[in-house]
Structures are given as C-alpha cells and as structure tokens.
C-alpha cells in the first residue's frame, strides 16, 4: 500500500504528464493518480476510435454517472445537472482531454497576455462594460515563449513559421515546417487577402510524416486521417514511465487535497479497494480547469469567490470560448469541387483585439477556415441553414449542397464577467457523496456583439468567393445550451496573478494559500484569450515544473519552521 510520495500529481493529461516527465527527468519520484485507465487501442498515431471508427472514442470522455456538473444561467436560478455531457467533454482516461483534443496548436498572440491594457490603449477605458473584468496576465508572451517552444517540440507541431504577421517572435521554427503554398487555398484564401485578412496554415500537433520528439518518442501517421495526433499517451508518458521513477496509479479518483491549513500534506483518493490517504512533499493538481477548481473548493483551499461582493478567489473568472460559423455554399451542379476545396487556415487579425474604430465588443476572435466536410462531432448533414429538415426537401438540399462549402469558424474569447463563476452545488452529488461543481454561465451582450460583428466581417469575404449562398451566422441562441457540442475550453476558477486577493496561484502556478501545492492547467488562465488553449496549458506546465523543481531542490524535504499562518508575499515573475 502506498503511503508516501515525493510528488503526487492528480491527473495524467497534458499538464500532469509534462510535469511528471520533467520532474522524473530531474531525478524526482512522482506518483500520478489518474481516475481513468490507459485507453484501449491507443497507439503511436494518437487517434483512439470506437469499433465503428468514430473518433474520439466514447471511452475517452467522462461518464456523467461518475462526475458531471450542474448548470444555471444566472445567480438565483435553480441549477440542474448536465445529465448527458455533450456541450463539452472532460477526459476520462490516462491522457485526459489530451487524448481526444483536435491537435490545433496556435500560440496566443502577445497582446492576449495584456488584454486589459491593450484594449484601454487602443480604445480608451470606456470600451470596458461595467460587469466585464478584463485583466492582464501576470506574465508576458516573452516570458512564456521558451515554454511554447518546448511544448511544440514535445507535441511535434507542424506549421508555417513566420506566416502569421501577428504572431510573437519565435525562438525556434515549428518542428515540422509547412510551406504555405503546399496547403490547398481554393478561392477563399485569395478573397481573404483581398479583404485585408492574413490567413496562414493552421498549426497542428500532428504531422503527415512520422516524427520523433525530444523524449525520443515516435508518432506514426494515422492511415485514415493522414496525420498523427500528439497526445500525452504517445508523446510524454512512455518516456516518464521509462525513467523508473514514476508510479502511475490508474482508477484512483482524488477527493481531497489534505493540508493542515498551512501546507499541503497529501491527497485522499478512492479506488476499487476503498479510500486511501497518500502523503506527499508536493501536491500538483492537474485535473482540468473544472476538476482543479472543484478539488480546491471541496478541500477548503482558498476562499470561494462571491459574485455579489467580488471577494474570494476560487471559482472566479470562469470563461470559455464562443463558437460561430459562417459558410459559403456552392451548388455542386454548377461548380466543380475546386471551388470549395480548401485546406485548414487560421487568421490572427482579430486574435487579441477588435478592429480599429468603434468596436461594440471586447476580446479576441481567432478565425479558422476550411472546407465543409463530415464532422467527428456531429452526424447532422452539412447543408445550408434553413434547408428543409426532412422529406424531399432535405434530399434536394443534400444533393445540391452537402459538404460543398467553405466555412470560417470563430473561436471567440469569452471575457471574464463578474457573475460567471464556479462553486459547489448545494443539491446534486456524485456517487461518493461529494457535491458537483456548479457552473453559473450564460452568453452576455459582449459575446452576441462579437459574433454578430465577426460574422459580418467574414461573410463579406465569403460572398467574394463566387458562392451561391452564404450563411452569415452571427446569432447566438437565447441561452448557453448544454445540448450540442461546442468546445472543451473551460478556463479560470484558479487563476494566476500577482495579488492573492484576486488570484489563486502565483505566476508559477503555486497556491498563494497552501504551501507545497501547485494548481496547473487552464484553471490558471486569467482570461481565455481566443486561440485553442492546449499549447498554453503545455507551456505553463513546463513553467510550473521548474518551480516545483526549485522547491524540491531548495528544501531537500526539510520542513521550514513556522508557527504563523502561511501566506506568501507576492512577487513578480
């Protein structure tokens, strides 16, 4: 029976795996507690599919019977459980959400790290609505750049270095370079350039060629998808386990961080044999944004955030991404397929700030474009909005338009709002009797304005492609809907900062309140920014691992004498 660990890491997704590998490489012993097991069928290509070939395999997503969340759109409204997890997915296996992510790997642009300052400089303070809590990160793009490079090298990101004029400086090219003219542009890329946008090939953590990363791990090409997908399973964990200093405990569900009010002393978890306490010198929470926040709240670490007084820290700045799609359709009886055949392109023109002028929203909008095609996330036919939904009309629409389109998707930053937050649900519980995490979240006027504005902008481009029809999109439903899949980009809840009154962790992701505790992942994002979050999660994980190493090397397991309540002095990164 395990009773003591040097370092215990909760969760074996990207964050937990990177920290584990880096600490093990430095000679430390790490016990990883993961609620799931190693997914069946995981191989060097990375895509784990169901028996019928569908990706991601259902085994990768959390079973709502074991853990789900409750939702309400606003304070005062009764919450209801999300009985079927579909609008976002939590990982449920070794590899976590990193076993089923898309692989899309844009870095944040430099102004994403100074969102509040950049908006105020560009548009004046009146741009900020009263309830919006836009903040700057406690670190800069330059601070994180070396760790972005480390993540890209681990994940074998393919992209076109220098093709995005809005990107920050790079210390190294992408591990797999893509020539922009090798990516199918169709008529859309030329139209985008005519309209002042700057498309570049979308960076992806997966290449069309076999790659070996700096841990010496090989990723193969999936023959069906024509590329690999980097995951913790094929890119990090085999190396970590190979050091002989990592104990990966599968089927271990952590319920509490144990602490004495001053410092973390271990964790309590349940497995098939019952409940166990595991002592540790260092505790690392790497259980996804929502899981980290729930564990802190259940463990009485830090002060829960109160949206009325805006006091407290745990649960604040919960954010996400808002998605919207504009599509150009080409009647296949009048166009050949070259009209709608376009590779995957991104645009950072609006990634941190709205365009100059008098914008009616704040936040970034990351744009992605490509051909319409079969989706892994929905089986609905891809046909124009407003087409008949059944009968002969449906068949006619399918005949003419199915998949014959170019779409521009918006990944929009949901900016922090004082009333969007996370806390523990007073009613609904999991099978172990612990409260579910309650999400208070709905679309605000800022998201509606962003979606409307960006849809108008990109639809003008789409109309210039010669398409027969353009679905502008640009209208959000009345409320956030837990039904259709949207994205799994939850952020915040345990945000980083330089002030313990408004943040849970310092710029190294170390808890302000409880010593020897690090809380790693998108939970630490003060703002969601607009690009996909995983590369930034990976970069922060490298950063946190160095902080943990410093702690272990400084203390050499010697307890610092202290008889006063612990609270560290803020320091700049």
């Amino acid at each position: 029976m395990r009773s003591r660990a040097e370092v215990v890491v909760v969760g074996a997704g990207w964050a937990g795996s990177i920290i584990t590998a880096e600490l093990a490489a430095a000679g430390h012993h790490v016990t990883v507690l993961e609620r799931g097991t190693w997914p069946a069928g995981a191989g060097p290509a990375g895509f784990v599919t169901d028996d019928d070939g569908r990706w991601p395999s259902r085994q990768l997503t959390e079973d709502a019977r074991l853990e789900t969340y409750t939702m309400r759109h606003r304070s005062g409204q009764a919450s209801l459980p999300i009985r079927r997890l579909n609008s976002f997915w939590a990982g449920s296996t070794v590899g976590g959400a990193g076993a089923m992510w898309s692989g899309f790997s844009p870095r944040f642009v430099p102004d994403s790290f100074r969102s509040r300052s950049a908006h105020v400089e560009a548009f004046g303070p009146s741009i900020l609505r009263p309830d919006v809590r836009l903040v700057d990160w406690p670190l800069t793009y330059a601070d994180l750049e070396p760790d972005y490079t480390r993540f890209e090298q681990v994940a074998g990101v393919s992209g076109a270095s220098g093709a995005d004029p809005f990107a920050g400086p790079r210390s190294a090219p992408y591990p797999v370079e893509v020539a922009p003219d090798s990516v199918d542009a169709g008529p859309w890329v030329a139209a985008a350039r005519r309209h002042g946008l700057h498309p570049y090939p979308r960076p992806v953590a997966g290449a069309g060629v076999e790659t070996v990363n700096h841990y010496g791990l090989t990723r193969a090409v999936d023959p069906v998808r024509g590329r690999s997908l980097a995951t913790p399973l094929n890119s990090v964990l085999p190396y970590a386990l190979g050091t002989g200093r990592v104990d990966l405990v599968e089927g271990a569900r952590v319920r509490r961080v144990l602490h004495d009010g001053r410092r973390a002393t271990g964790v309590r978890y349940v497995d098939a044999d019952g409940e166990h306490d595991l002592e540790a010198e260092v505790v690392v929470l790497a259980a996804w944004a929502l899981g980290n926040t729930r564990l802190l709240l259940m463990s009485d670490v830090g002060r829960p955030y109160d949206p009325e007084t805006e006091q407290g820290t745990v649960g604040r700045n919960h954010a996400n991404h808002v998605g919207a799609v504009s599509t150009a359709w080409f009647d296949r009886s009048r166009h050949d397929s070259s009209a709608w055949r376009t590779g995957a392109w991104s645009m950072s023109d609006l990634a941190a700030l709205p365009e100059a002028g008098r914008p009616d929203y704040v936040g970034g909008a990351h744009l992605v474009a490509g051909s319409v095609g079969p989706s892994d996330l929905s089986t609905d036919p891809r046909i124009p909005v407003g087409s008949p939904r059944w009968g002969a009309g449906l068949r006619t629409a399918i005949d003419r338009y199915e998949d014959a389109g170019v779409q521009v998707g918006l990944l929009g930053e949901v900016v922090p709002h004082r009333r969007r937050h996370l806390d523990l649900d007073p009613t609904f519980r999991d099978p172990w009797g612990d409260p579910l995490l309650r999400i208070t979240f709905d679309w605000d006027e800022n998201e509606r304005s962003m979606v409307r504005s960006v849809a108008r902008r990109v639809s003008a481009v789409l109309r210039d492609t010669g398409a027969d029809l353009v679905d502008e999109g640009g209208v959000l439903p009345d409320h956030y809907d837990v039904g259709p899949y949207q994205n799994s980009h939850a952020t915040g809840g345990a945000v980083m900062g330089t002030d313990p009154a408004t943040s849970v962790v310092d710029p190294d992701l170390r808890s302000w309140d409880i010593d020897r505790l690090w809380v790693v992942g998108a939970s630490a994002f003060p703002t969601a920014a607009s690009p996909n979050p995983t590369p930034t999660v990976g970069a922060l994980s490298f950063r946190a691992s160095r902080s943990i190493r410093r702690h272990l090397e400084d203390t050499e397991a010697t307890d610092p004498p202290s008889d006063t309540p612990h609270r560290r002095t803020p320091r700049r990164p």
């Binding site: 259902r58 789900t68 059944w390 068949r395 009613t427 609904f428």
Partner: protein, 151 residues
C-alpha cells in the same frame, strides 16, 4: 434512469422504419431510408450505451428546466423515449384512421411527422412532440452517417 429493453419488437421496428423513411424518402429514383436498410442501423443505435442512457447522470431530483439550454432532463433514456413515440404514433393511427401507422398513405404519415415537428401532435407528453421529432431526426442522421452518407 431505467434500462430499456434493447430488443425492438417487429411491429415497433416497422413503425420506426416507416417514420425514418418519411424523413428520408425515395427521391429521384434513388432509394429512401427503408430501401437503404437504415432501420438496421437505427436498431443498433437504440441498443448503444448512449441511447440506452448508460452514461447519463441519474441523481435526483428531476426538475423541469426553467428555460432553454439545460439539455436532457428526463428520467427516460433516449431509447425509451423513442419507443414511446412509436407507441403513441401507432395509437394515434388506430384512433384516427382505424389502422396502425404502418400501411397508412405517405401523405397521412407525412402529416403526422409535420405535427411532431411543429409541436401540434396531441398524443405525447414526455417526450414532447418537438423533442420526439428531434430524436427521430438524430437517429436518421446517425444511421446515415454510419452507413456512408449516401445521397
């Protein structure tokens, strides 16, 4: 959440085959859902863990959603809901037309589908008619997707 009997009776299977066929009918001389054999895939989907509600949180209390956006809140599984739809549709056919749903003229069957879509069908409470329509449409699209998305 109770577990639905995964076995479809022959009569229920025929009702669902007709319903899905009206959603995706024969067109321009090309086969509809029935002749494409999609009902076999529909039946398989109804036996799948997701449709059987095996990954659904079942903690109480079950409460009505205050507004749109709260997703699935029924104690029934999606499969149980579909079986209810099939029963309700057949009872309606007997009541209104003196015979079961299978075998009714296509125009009459289409009228029933329209009543589900616009919510005017009176014979269903849980699932509501519009939800019943969405469930049937989801079954069609899943079956078509798994069958190669033939046009």
């Amino acid at each position: 959440m109770t577990s639905a009997d995964p076995a479809l009776t022959d009569s229920t299977r025929e009702i669902l085959a007709d319903l899905v066929d009206r959603l995706f009918p024969e067109h321009d001389g090309r086969p509809g859902a029935k002749d494409l054999g999609l009902i076999a895939v529909v039946a398989a989907r109804l036996r799948s863990p997701g449709w059987q509600g095996r990954h659904t949180y079942a903690g109480g209390p079950y409460l009505p959603a205050p507004e749109a956006g709260f997703g699935w809140q029924s104690p029934l599984s999606p499969t149980e809901s579909v079986l209810r739809v099939a029963r309700a549709v057949d009872e309606w056919a007997v009541r209104e037309h003196g015979q079961g749903f299978v075998g009714l003229d296509h125009d009459v069957q289409d009228g029933l589908v329209r009543a589900l879509e616009d919510g005017s069908f009176a014979g269903l409470d849980d699932p509501a008619p519009r939800q019943a329509f969405e469930l049937l449409l989801s079954l069609l699209h899943e079956a078509r997707s798994l069958s190669g998305r033939r046009r």
